[in-house]
Symmetry: D2
Subunit: 420 residues, 4 copies
C-alpha cells in the first residue's frame, strides 16, 4: 500500500499546502454521490483490486478525485495524471496526495510536461487503466508496447476515446480488454446530455456574462452531447441551429424544432457556436470567414481541434485576452471573434465540469466496469458494458432519491413472451 508519505514523495504537483480546500471540495462532491459512496463501501469490504496498481488519467477535480479514492478503497494503489493540463485543480491534486494517491499533475503545464506526466503514470507499472480520451492506451501502444502484457484491462468513458480504441480494435492492435463505458446507457444518456448540457452553458455564461436568451446558438453535431447542448440552449431562451453530417440525426434535430443547415450558412447567423462532434476542424476557415462581428466560439468536445485554431491564426492579425478565458481574435477584415478556453472543453476550463450527480452515474459505471473487466479476465478488444450494470446503477440512483418503480407481474412477463 502506498503510504501518504510515499505518495507525497513520488508525486509531482503544484503545492501540498493547497490540500485543505481540495478536501473541502472532495467532501462536498462525495456528499452528493450516493451511488459511488455505496459501491465504495461494498468494495472496501470485498477489495476486488487488492494488491493491484491502477493508472488513472482524468480531468482532475473533486468528482474524479472521488473515483480515484473509491478505486483506492477497493484495494488498489493508484497513480493519476491529468487528461488536460488546463482543467487540473491544484488543490484537489494536493488533497489526493494527502490521501495516499500518487499524482503527476499541475494546472497549466505545457504540452511537453503534460506528456511526461502520462509517462510517469505508465512508469508506475499499472495493471489496469482508467482512461479518458484513450491517452494512456494510445501512448502505451505507441511507445511502450512491452507494457501491454501486464495490463489486465481498463475502461474508457469518452466518445472520443472509444472512437480511438475502436479504430485500434478494428485493426487488431488493441492488446488488452477495454470496457466502452461511454456506450453504457447510464453514461451517454446522462453524462453527455444532461451533464455537458448544463455545464457547458454554465461555462459560457460564466466566461462572458452574456445573455443566452435572445441569442442564436449554433450547435455543431447532434449526438448525445449536441442534443444536451441544444436542449439547454433552448431552455435558456436561445434560437438554436444545428449542423450535422448524419441525415438521421439532422432529421431528429428538425423534428425537435431546431433549424438545420450547413455550418457555412449557420456561421453567418450565430452568436454562440458550440462544437460537439469529436472531429477535427468542424469550424474551419470558410465558416470563420463569414461569422458576425463578436461571435463567441466554444468547444464541448474532447480535444481542442474542433474549432480550427490554425484557421483562426491565418485569418487574424493578433489575439488578446479580454476576460478570464476569453481571447479576442482581431480579424484582418476588422471583425472580432472570441474564443473561449483556447478551444478546449469549455465546461471543464470555464466552470467546474459536469454536475456532481451526473458524474456519480458515470463513475459508478466506470467503477463497476473496471471491476467487471478485472474479475472476468476478458479477451483483448473493446467490450460493451453488460446491461445489468446499467440497470443496477439506475436502480441505485432512483433508490437514493427514494423513488419506486413498478414491477412486471408474472402475467405481464408472460404476455411479453407470448405471441399467440
Amino acid at each position: 500500500m502506498t503510504t501518504i508519505q510515499d505518495a507525497a514523495k513520488l508525486s509531482q504537483i503544484r503545492d501540498l499546502a493547497l490540500a485543505p480546500r481540495g478536501h473541502e471540495k472532495i467532501d462536498w462532491a462525495l456528499a452528493h454521490m450516493p451511488i459511488l459512496r455505496q459501491l465504495q463501501e461494498e468494495f472496501s469490504q470485498t477489495r476486488p483490486f487488492a494488491g493491484m496498481r491502477i493508472g488513472v488519467c482524468l480531468h482532475i477535480e473533486a468528482k474524479t478525485a472521488c473515483l480515484a479514492l473509491a478505486v483506492q478503497a477497493a484495494g488498489a494503489e493508484v497513480a493519476i495524471a491529468a487528461s488536460n493540463p488546463l482543467s487540473t485543480q491544484d488543490d484537489v491534486v494536493a488533497a489526493l496526495v494527502e490521501r495516499g494517491i500518487v499524482a503527476f499533475a499541475k494546472r497549466g503545464v505545457n504540452e511537453e510536461e503534460f506528456a511526461r506526466q502520462i509517462d510517469q503514470v505508465l512508469d508506475f507499472n499499472p495493471q489496469a487503466l482508467i482512461d479518458d480520451g484513450a491517452d494512456l492506451s494510445s501512448k502505451l501502444h505507441l511507445h511502450r508496447p512491452e507494457q501491454a502484457n501486464q495490463i489486465i484491462g481498463g475502461c474508457e468513458e469518452t466518445t472520443t476515446g472509444i472512437t480511438r480504441l475502436s479504430a485500434m480494435a478494428r485493426s487488431g492492435e488493441l492488446r488488452y480488454p477495454m470496457m466502452a463505458v461511454n456506450d453504457a446507457y447510464c453514461k451517454h444518456l446522462f453524462d453527455n446530455r444532461y451533464g455537458t448540457g448544463q455545464s457547458a452553458w454554465e461555462g459560457i455564461i460564466r466566461a462572458t456574462n452574456l445573455s443566452v436568451a435572445g441569442s442564436t446558438a449554433v450547435i455543431v453535431g447532434y449526438g448525445f452531447v449536441g442534443k444536451g447542448l441544444a436542449m439547454r440552449a433552448r431552455g435558456l431562451g436561445a434560437k438554436v441551429i444545428v449542423t450535422e453530417v448524419n441525415p438521421v440525426r439532422a432529421l431528429e434535430a428538425v423534428m425537435d424544432g431546431f433549424e438545420v443547415m450547413p455550418i457555412v450558412e449557420a456561421a453567418r447567423l450565430g452568436d454562440f457556436f458550440v462544437t460537439a462532434t469529436g472531429n477535427v476542424a468542424v469550424i474551419d476557415e470558410d465558416a470563420l470567414a463569414v461569422m458576425k462581428d463578436g461571435a463567441i466560439l466554444t468547444n464541448a468536445g474532447h480535444f481542442d481541434v474542433e474549432i480550427s485554431k490554425p484557421a483562426l491564426f491565418r485569418l487574424s492579425l493578433h489575439k488578446k485576452k479580454v476576460r478570464e478565458h476569453v481571447e479576442q481574435y482581431s480579424m484582418k477584415d476588422g471583425r472580432s471573434l472570441y474564443l473561449l478556453a483556447e478551444g478546449r472543453l469549455v465546461n471543464l476550463i470555464c466552470a467546474d465540469g459536469h454536475p456532481v450527480e451526473v458524474m456519480d452515474l458515470t463513475f459508478a459505471m466506470q467503477f463497476l466496469g473496471l471491476e467487471y473487466v478485472i474479475r472476468h479476465r476478458l479477451e483483448p478488444g473493446l467490450h460493451s458494458m453488460p446491461v445489468e450494470l446499467d440497470m443496477r446503477v439506475a436502480k441505485m440512483r432512483l433508490s437514493a432519491w427514494g423513488m419506486k418503480l413498478d414491477e412486471l407481474t408474472p402475467e405481464q412477463s408472460a404476455y411479453l413472451n407470448s405471441w399467440k
Copy 2:
C-alpha cells in the same frame, strides 16, 4: 393484374359510393408524402413486386392507403384488411377498391367478422406481408402453417408486432423472414415519438374538449411512444408523471424533469392517463380504485389491453356514452371514470392517426424493407433494417425540405479512423 372490376367484386366493404371523399383524402395525404411519392415513381419503373400477391393488414385510412397503392404501383396485386375495426375509414376503403385493391374492411365490425377479414387476406394467397401488430403472421402460423412456405417475407412496423415476432423467432417458430421496421431509426425515432405524441393528444382533446394546460398527465411507459406523449403533454402545459418498470428509462424521465412513481401512486394524482407499454393491464384494479373522480383513461399502445377493461367492469355499476368516443363508467363508490375509444388506440379512433409527414417516413421504410426482404431472399427470422436505408430515407426527407447537410472532408474521415 387485379382489375378494378375484380377488386370491386372480391372486396367486402361498406359502400363503394363513399369513394369520392376517400380519393380526396388520399390525394391530400399523397401530396404531403414526398418520399413515398418518389419511391413509388422509381419502383413503378423497376417493378420489384411484379407478378406478386401481397397481403396487407393496417389501420385503413388515407396514409396507409398511399402505401398500399405504392406497393401496387411496384407491380403487386394487393389485398388489404384492417388491423383494427374501429379505425377503418370506409370512404378510404371504397377509394382503394376503385383503384384496384381488394379490401376486406368495414368500420365497427365485431370481433368475429374482423377475424374473418384477416382470413380473407390469407385466402388471397399472399407471397409477402405488410403487417401491423403481427396479426397476419400470428394467424398464419397458428391456423394456416401450410401457407408459410409460399411467403417470401414481410415487414412489421409496430413495437408490439416485433415483440410477438421476436418471441416466435426466439422459439424457432418463425417460418419466413420478417423485417423489423419498427427498430429502424427512421421509424421509431419519429413515428413513435413525434407521430404518437401529436396525434394521441389531438385525439384526447378532440374527444374531451378539456384543457391539457393545468392538468396532470400520467404517462404509463417511457419508451419512444411514452417519450413522445410526455414531451407533448408538457408542450401543451401539463404537469407530467411517468410510470415505468425499467430503471434506466425511469432515470431518463427524472432527468427530463418529470415525476416518476408507481402507477398506484400516480393514479391518485392524474387527470389524464395515457398508456404506451405494449403490455397488459398496466392500469389495473388497484390503480382504478384510487383515481380521482372524473379521470380520463386513454391508450396509445397497439392493443386494447393496457387499461384493464375487466377491472373497470368489476369496479363499476354501469357505463354510458357521454360524448363521441367517451364512455362514462359509474363506479360503485360513486366516482366516474371516463374511457376513451374503448381503450383502443386513441389517435386512430378519436383522430386521424399520425401526421402525414411522419407516416411518409414510416411507409418509406416499410416499402424499402419489403423490397429488401424480397430482393435478398433472407433466411427465416426477424431481420434488422440496414442502416443505409435509414440514411437514404432521412436524406430524401431533408432534401424534400430543401435542407442541406455538411459532409465529412477526407481529413475528417481519416481523423475518425485514426487513433494515433
Copy 3:
C-alpha cells in the same frame, strides 16, 4: 318567465329534434365548469337578474350555453344569437330552446340572415347585453339608438370588441356602461393564451392531419393570443417566427427564443400561418405572393379579415374544397395555398373552441361582470373589472382543484407597507 313552449315558438333554429345530443354536450361541459356552477347556485338563490331580459350574442356551443343557462338561473329571460354563423352548433341551440332560452341561430346561414338574427335579439328588448366582438352594441348604436336608454349595461369578452367599444367610448358615443371583461386577468391571461393556444392548434391539426413538429409556424401578432399560439407551436415541435408592429412585444418574442421579422420575409419561410392581431389584412397580397407552395393559412382572431381574402382572390385562378374546412387556392403562378375555415376563427370552426376549464374562468368573469354592472348602475362608458373579482374567481378555481395558497402574515403585510 319564458316557458319552454314560448321559447320553442319564438326561436328560429335548425331542428328541435337535435336537442338530446346538445343536452349531452352541455352536461359534459357543465361537469367541468366548477366555478360557473358554484356562482349559478349562489345566484339562483339571490336572483340578481330577476325580471330582466338579457340579450346574448356568443359563439353557440356547449360552454356558452352554460353561461346563458346560468344567466337564466339568476332570474333573467334570455335571448341568444350567434356571433358567427359557422361556429353555431345546432344541437346545442336546440337544447337551449328546450331549456327555455329563445334562440335565433342556425349553422351556416348567410350574412343577411346572420344580421337578421342579431336584430331579433334586439327585438327582444334586452335590458342588458352579453356581447362578443361588440356585434350587439355596434348594431344597436348604429341602427337602433332609441334602445340605448333601456340598456342598464353589459359585458364584452373579446379584444376586438373592446377595441371597438373603446373607439366608441373615446368619441363619446357609447351610451351605456360596458364591462371590459377581456382586460380582466382571469380572462386575457388564461382564455387568450392557454385557450386559443390549445384549441387553434387542435383545429389546425384536425383539419389538416399534418405534423406541427418539424414545421415552421408563423404567428402574426404577439399579444396574449399570439403568445399562446407561439408557446403551443413550440410545444408541438415547430420552429416559430413572430411578426409584430409593436417593438416591446417584438423584443419579448426575441427573448422568448422566437425569430422576429416582417411578414413579407416570414411569408417565404412558413408552413403554417396563424393570425392573431385583431387587425385587417395583416396577411396581404405582398405576403401571399411569396409564400411556399402548400402553405396553410389560418386565423385565430375575431373577424375573418386578417388574411386578406380579396388578395387571395386576385392572385388565384380558382379555389376548391380538398378536405373538411380546407380550401385550396390555385394561384396564377402555379402554387397552391390552403385556407382553413374560410379565414374565420379556426378553433371554433375546425374544433370545439376553447377548452371547457378555460371558459369556466372567462364565463365566471362575464357572469360576475354583468352582475356588477347591473348592481352598481355604472356610468356610460367602458369599465374595468374590479381586481377583487379576479381574485375571487382565481381562488374558486384553485379551490376546486383542492389547491391551497400561502397567506401574508401580519408581519409581512406590515413589511410591504413600510419603507423605513
Copy 4:
C-alpha cells in the same frame, strides 16, 4: 468637473491598482450595450446633466459602471456607493475612479461602514439620484430631510425600491419626483424575467456544481422574477413547484404546468429553494423545520430577509463554510441545510449579475428616465415612465440586432380606430 485626481482623492475604495482588470470588464460590457452606447453618444452632445451632481447607489460591477459613466458623459459629476457590500467588484470601483467618478465602495465591508458609504454619497450633495432598493431616498428622508429640497428627481429600478417609494408616496412623505423604472416594460419584462432567470441559476450552479436536471426547484413568488426563475429551472430540467399568496399568479403558475402549494408543503419536496417575493421571512421556521437533508437555500430578491436567518440560527447548532459562498447549517435534528451567499442576491454574489444585454435595456431606461424627470421638472411623487420611452428603447435594441418590424398601414390604423 471632477478631475481624476479629485476622484482618487475623494473616493474610499479597496485599491486603485486593481483598475486595469476593471477597465477590461467595463470595456467588455460596453461592447455589448449598444443602446446605452448610442444614448451616451447622443447625450454627450446635448449634455442634459451639465453642471449637476448626481448620486448613484447600485451593485457596482461592469454594467452599472457603464451607466455611471454614461451619466458622467452627459455632463454630470457622479458619486457612487454600493447597494450591497457583497456584490461590489473592487477592480471595477478602481476603474471608475480612474475615469473620474467618486466612489465609496469596498467589497465585504460591514453594515456600519456600508451605511457610512451611503452617507458619503449624500454628503456629495447630489441634485439627482439613481437608486436601487431606495437606499439613498430612504436614508435621505429619514436622516437628512433638509437635503430633499435640492433634489430635482431621480429614478429607481427595483420592485423592492418601488414598493418602498410607493409606501412613501401613499403617505405623502415622498419629497421629490422619482421615476418607477421597474414598472416600465423594457425593465420588468426583461430584466426581472430573463435577467434574473439566467443569472440566479448560473450563480446557484457555480456555487454548488449540482445538477438542476432531475431536481425539484421551489420558486417562492411568481411575479416577473419568479416567472423567470421558474422558466429557467424548467429549461434546465428541474421539476418546479411555485408558492404564492396571490391567487391570479398562482393560477398562472398552474396553467404554465407548475405545481402550486403552500411553502410548508413544498419545503418537504424541494432540492433548491429560490425566493423572489420582496417580502420578509417567506421561508420561515415552519418550512425550515421540514426540509430535506441537503436542501439548498437561495434568494433572488433585493434584501437578505426572504429566507429567515434568525429562524435558521434558532434551529441549528452551528454553521460552517463548505464551498465558496456556501454555508452549511447543521440543524439540531441532524439535517444539514445549505445557505448560498448568506441569503443575499445569489446572482450578484455568486455570479456576475444579470447578462450584459439585459442590463443595457434596464440602464437605457434608467438613463432616459433620469433625463425625463430632470427635463420635465415633475411634481414630487412616484411617476410612471412614458410608454414612448419603452417603444424607443425596444426599437433601438431590435435595430442593433438588425431586425425589422412591420408597420401599421393607414388602412390598419383606421380600422383599429373605427367601430362601425
